[in-house]
């Protein structure tokens, strides 16, 4: 983008402030590079496309073959996206992760979503990352910290009450404040009742025995069982 003078910036800010939410969204779309990728106005290395999403290679990849799955509609963060499209995104992510494993013969992928700049989001258009992973690449290690059980219960209470509210479950979770002697620390409420009334799916495929296979030879095609079999 070209540099703007102070007066231009000021005029732009004023214009933005006067805009209705719809106009603002329209304006954002015009400015958004990923909307232009979605409509092929900007060239990209395309991997996949359907009516809802487009998948391209990231030009600033964490590793070779880093794929971005981008909704064609302009959304900033995941909570703005309709549920149907979120489910579709998940399914496409699964399938493209499979394509990455097979195509690049890597042994794993990280599927990564950042909502908000605090979470590392860099563009104002929502996207899902599929990052090919290799041993010792040092990427995306989620640390494990020791947190007091009482602290976890307290945070749980807040999240769960908000979640229940959004799901329409009328049940308040109260974490017991006082811990009596010899009584293990435990929230007083039981598990959340099932909200979905659908009957359980009865038939499920019997579990396939996963062969133990400590290492995958690079030259061979990588099968999912092999990757699953890397666990000890």
């Amino acid at each position: 983008m070209t540099e703007m003078s102070e007066s231009q910036k000021k005029a732009l800010m004023e214009k933005l402030e006067r805009m209705s939410p719809e106009e603002l969204r329209e304006f954002q779309k015009k400015q958004c590079i990923f909307c232009q990728i979605a409509t092929a106005k900007v060239r990209s290395r395309k991997i996949y496309e359907d009516e809802k999403v487009i998948a391209v290679l990231d030009i600033n990849p964490a590793s070779k073959g880093h794929v971005l799955v981008i909704p064609k509609e302009h959304y900033s963060i995941l909570p703005q996206i309709p549920e149907e499209e979120i489910a579709h995104l998940g399914i496409i992510a699964k399938r493209l992760s499979h394509a990455v494993l097979k195509g690049l013969k890597v042994q794993g992928t990280s599927i990564f979503i950042a909502n908000g700049t605090a979470a590392g989001q860099r563009a104002q258009h929502f996207m899902l990352h599929i990052i090919p992973r290799n041993n010792k690449d040092g990427l995306l290690a989620i640390p494990q910290k020791h947190v007091d059980d009482a602290e976890i219960s307290k945070v749980r209470e807040r999240i769960q009450n908000k979640l229940n509210e959004s799901l329409g479950i009328k049940k308040e979770v109260v974490v017991e404040k006082k811990h009596e002697k010899n009584v293990p620390q435990k929230p007083t409420q039981e598990k959340v009742e099932r909200i979905e009334k659908k009957p359980e799916k009865k038939a499920q495929k019997p579990e396939k025995k996963v062969r133990k296979q400590p290492e995958i030879k690079k030259s061979e095609a990588v099968s999912l069982d092999d990757i699953a079999g890397l666990f000890k």
């Binding site: 909570p79 995104l89 399938r95 605090a118 908000k162």
Partner: protein
Amino acid sequence: MNNCEFCSIVQGEFDSETIYADDKVIALMHLKPAAPGHVLLFTKEHHSIIEQVPDFVIGHAFVIANKISSAIFESLGVHGTNIIIENGTVAGQMIPHFSMHILPRNEDDGLKLDWQPKSVTDDDSDIAQFQIKEQAESVHPDLFEHEKKEEAHEIKKEQHNPLPRQLRRIP
């Protein structure tokens, strides 16, 4: 699956800080969180990696993960969330049971979950694009039909094995 930590939680063998459960997925507080409010969501059925999870379960898991992420935003007042799937041991997955991490984030929380861009030559990118695209086509030639197929698949499965799930759980 025997000896699977997550399957044991599903079967109620351990106390856990469960925040949500339905017939497909369960979500609970991570007991060694990266940050307070770190939630772990996993499938009730045992599947090692995402590629083995049926589509309708994946779609549902993403929808629930989003609801939990929204609840974290609103209840903790954080400025961001990450949803991360570690798929395979090289990606940091420690338990061979598909799961999703939902993490609350703030600007100065000290979590290093970003990356430096890696320089990849244009040729290498072209090759990677070709290799992935080729698989994306051959693995899933029928992407638009997946929902219909799913339904057909489910019906077939039910006819195939009429035993209730509970019964088959008994070792």
